[in-house]
Symmetry: C2
Subunit: 170 residues, 2 copies
């Protein structure tokens, strides 16, 4: 699969976010089954393995996955699928959610330099809040079940994933 440039669209998520999310959902589906190698994931999702290495490095540094070297090694989620949100994944791969610098997450409010009563800041601020809330409200456990909570999915798998999602949900 080659990347999708898809020029000139607003709020486009780069391949880092897209590939990384698929990787994490894949890991969630194999939760409890031991390590999964990048090679397996790359083949299953039809993604460039060497590129995934870069992405998974970011995910590991963010504390979202654990790697295990050597034959039979691979990656596992660092927490249960119900404890990792889409927001966690996106932030690890694409940085903090901030439409504009004046709306940076977790920073003290710094007023715009040029216009103290900047009206446009409202837009970016609301946007940042909205996006963060949406992403932080979805866990890998939900995503791993697929859109329609497909009927032909293994019952055990479904039950396991849902059970893991019971923890500290909002």
């Amino acid at each position: 699969m080659l990347g999708n440039p898809l020029s000139q669209t607003a709020f486009h998520v780069s391949s880092r976010g897209e590939y990384g999310m698929r990787l994490m959902v894949d890991l969630a589906r194999h939760w409890g089954e031991g390590s999964v190698s990048l090679h397996t994931i790359a083949e299953g999702e039809d993604l460039p393995e060497a590129y995934l290495e870069q992405l998974v490095a970011a995910l590991r540094k963010a504390g979202l996955v654990n790697g295990k070297r050597g034959a039979g090694g691979g990656y596992t989620l660092a927490r249960a699928p119900g404890q990792i949100t889409a927001g966690d994944v996106v932030r690890a791969l694409e940085g903090p959610i901030e439409p504009q610098i004046c709306t940076a997450e977790g920073e003290a409010v710094v007023n715009c330099i040029h216009e103290p009563d900047c009206g446009t800041r409202l837009v970016w601020l609301k946007l940042q809040t909205t996006i963060a809330k949406a992403l932080d409200g979805m866990t890998l456990a939900e995503l791993a079940l697929g859109p329609g909570a497909r009927r032909d999915q293994k019952r055990t798998g479904t039950q396991r994933l849902q059970a893991e999602g019971q923890g500290t949900r909002n």
Copy 2:
């Protein structure tokens, strides 16, 4: 003002969106007072005038502003400030809101090629809906009033903008 590269942040709005939004809010604040020249706006907002020309061209093609040539000419909003949303502005300048190609606005749902029950699509779809709703829910009339609906703003201006916002709001 030089551009703000601000590398590695998710959902970052480019200078097109940022400058264009400020331009439109500026026009909203001068609604009913005749044309405003780009020169005036560029000076007031401290933005490169030649660059604004490109942006305003996109806004005109999208039917959001009208231009008037010649001495004393300039731009005016094509509709009342209450009838133009932040979503209109962003779409005109940065394209349709679509985190991923499989979530394109206004297109028939096309399933992902590689994974029919693609779980990750849920994320991007929810994101697209959420962002669009947030942006389409804010009008230039509201933005033109500024964050705190500042007390020292001219009463007449405030009243005029609010009155213009009464039309077909949701």
